[in-house]
């Protein structure tokens, strides 16, 4: 609560990169958890609870590596929007279940590529975590692709999923914009085995393939925006109001003063 927040200056390049990865996971977990008990089916409630726990568990794995002696609440829970390095895609409010699945798909596709590139270069502590996380992400990605196939089975489903891609692809532009967070290219800093351009290109290929395999008409503009320079780069601490609202919702009014979350001030 009163503990000093972590500052970027005290983190080295790898740690700054991991902070961005961890923030991605944390914010995603928070969004998935909003579905618990209000999902489309009870079976899906159960799955979304698992995904939320996985993501928040992954975030914890990374936060613990870079906490410099701070506790988990200081590092994971109580940092302000400007201190966060997650992609703006992940802070976006889910307006319907279609958004959830499209974010699940776009993000987990990106994360898999990134972590594979981490696992190839990293030392033991980082590499073994990346491998562990990758094992679970495989199921997350499968969850997204299975649902995409199902959701487009009706006119309404196709309309909604198309709208989600149109809305969310432009917000994906910072998924690989790690240079801003790290201060240099993560591949030259020895964090990633491949340059981020290559990862982005691979991501684009998978995304385009998946979209074209489905009865969807997603505009070329939206796809182009997803691989252009980000207008708002979460990796540089630039965020949308959605993140402020999300962090405010974590830090509710009315808690007694000595809970870890009580000391947060936006």
């Amino acid at each position: 609560m009163s503990a000093e927040s972590i500052t970027l200056e005290e983190l080295d390049a790898t740690e700054r990169f991991l902070l961005a990865i961890a923030d991605d996971e944390f914010v995603t977990g928070q969004r998935f958890a909003e579905w618990v008990t209000v999902g489309p089916t009870m079976e899906e409630d159960n799955v979304l609870s698992s995904l939320a726990q996985d993501e928040m568990g992954h975030a914890r794995l990374w936060y613990e590596l870079i906490d410099h002696g701070r506790d988990l609440d200081t590092v994971g829970y109580n940092r302000r929007p400007s201190e966060r390095r997650n992609s703006i895609l992940l802070e976006t409010e889910h307006t319907d279940f279609g958004d959830t699945i499209v974010i699940n798909f776009l993000y987990d596709t990106a994360e898999t590529l990134v972590l594979e590139a981490v696992a190839e270069t990293a030392d033991d502590a980082v590499g073994s975590r990346a491998t562990k996380v990758l094992e679970e992400e495989r199921y997350h990605l499968e969850h997204a692709t299975q649902w995409l196939e199902r959701l487009v089975s009706t006119d309404e489903g196709r309309r909604r999923v198309t709208a989600s891609f149109e809305r969310l692809l432009p917000r994906s532009a910072d998924l690989f914009a790690f240079d801003a967070a790290v201060g240099t290219a993560p591949s030259t800093a020895g964090i990633l085995s491949r340059p981020t351009d290559e990862l982005r290109a691979a991501w684009r290929e998978t995304v385009e393939e998946t979209i074209s395999s489905l009865p969807l008409e997603v505009s070329a503009d939206a796809l182009e925006a997803a691989v252009s320079e980000p207008v708002t780069n979460g990796r540089a601490g630039e965020h949308t109001d959605a993140l402020t609202a999300l962090l405010d919702s974590i830090h509710a009014e009315g808690l007694p003063a000595d809970h870890p979350a009580s000391g947060y001030h936006a």
């Binding site: 008990t37 079976e43 899906e44 609870s49 726990q53 319907d96 489903g157 919702s249 509710a252």
Partner: protein, 309 residues
């Protein structure tokens, strides 16, 4: 042997056995009640997932809610096997036609309410669930074994929060006491009216569906919770509560049964808002179930998709 003779002889009834209409009706009634309570309980508590006061508490609360949803799902499935329709059951729950635990008709405005729901109210429900491990319907008894195993963790999670408050700042201690003042009579009421031996409860007993009476369960609850509450320095808000050594029974002020009846029939302060929110969620996700149905090409069960993660 006839059904009632088999039950009297201590045999378990299994799925596929021939049931009487009465047995099926009474059994489905209690299954729906326990399933609804799990579901509405999770729905009440999940309001606190976004704002759980620490990282670890948030993870624990998500895990707990996941368990409760799983319990509800298993029990609805059981009622489906007995011939009920899941969508129908949910629709009538959301229409306010079906009962669920009285506690979930009240708001949980403070974090300590979440602790007390998990410790005191899940603890009350556990007395019932534990007794149902001996119900005459085998599949239900086996589900209850699993449910009780997981509920142990929920109660521990709740007690952990209570202990944190009991040993914390003066503000926390005061909020804990105020919380127990709010929830105590609701916990006492959870077990239902004193055994007035309605015809229905007598039949539930004879058919071995509900092996323990309301009063037996309530006495058991006092046995466990009175010493625990006192141990945490909490005053129990009933000055007439004492253990009568002679009768070996707890004496207590009868709770406000009029309030109880009103709550379980007409709903409480939070009932309508919660049911409305859940109904909205149900309607907003209808398109997903429609898509599932179109994909599977079947109307058999719009709820049991087989997607896993």
């Amino acid at each position: 042997m006839k059904l009632e003779e088999r039950i009297a002889a201590g045999q378990l009834i299994e799925s596929g056995d021939e049931l009487t209409d009465e047995y099926r009706e009474l059994l489905c009634g209690i299954i729906q009640f326990t399933a609804n309570s799990e579901f509405m309980g999770a729905f009440a508590e999940s309001e606190w997932i976004p704002r759980a006061p620490s990282y670890q508490r948030k993870l624990a609360l998500i895990a707990k809610n996941q368990d409760e949803i799983g319990h509800a799902q298993m029990q609805y499935q059981l009622a489906e096997d007995l011939g009920r329709d899941r969508e129908q059951m949910l629709t009538s729950l959301l229409a306010g036609e079906n009962g669920f635990g009285n506690a979930f008709h009240y708001p949980a405005d403070e974090w300590i309410d979440i602790g007390l729901l998990a410790w005191m109210l899940d603890g009350a429900a556990m007395q019932l669930q534990h007794s149902l491990m001996k119900t005459s319907y085998g599949p239900y008894a086996r589900i209850m074994k699993r449910v009780c195993r997981e509920e142990e963790f929920h109660i521990r999670h709740g007690e952990h929060i209570v202990r944190e408050y009991a040993t914390g700042s003066r503000e926390k201690q005061e909020r804990l006491q105020a919380g127990v003042d709010r929830w105590w009579s609701r916990a006492v009421m959870f077990f239902g009216l004193s055994d007035s031996r309605s015809e229905k409860s007598e039949r539930m007993d004879e058919l071995g569906i509900k092996p323990k009476t309301n009063d037996e369960l309530r006495q058991q609850y006092f046995d466990t919770y009175v010493p625990k509450l006192r141990n945490y320095g909490i005053d129990i808000p009933d000055e007439n509560l004492y253990y009568d050594e002679e009768t070996e029974q707890w004496e207590y002020t009868p709770p406000d049964w009029e309030e109880f009846n009103r709550i379980v029939t007409e709903g409480g302060p939070e009932t309508q808002a919660r049911l409305d929110r859940r109904r909205t969620a149900f309607e907003e996700t209808a398109w997903v179930r429609d898509a599932l149905e179109a994909y599977d090409g079947t109307t058999a069960n719009r709820f049991a998709n087989n997607i896993t993660a």
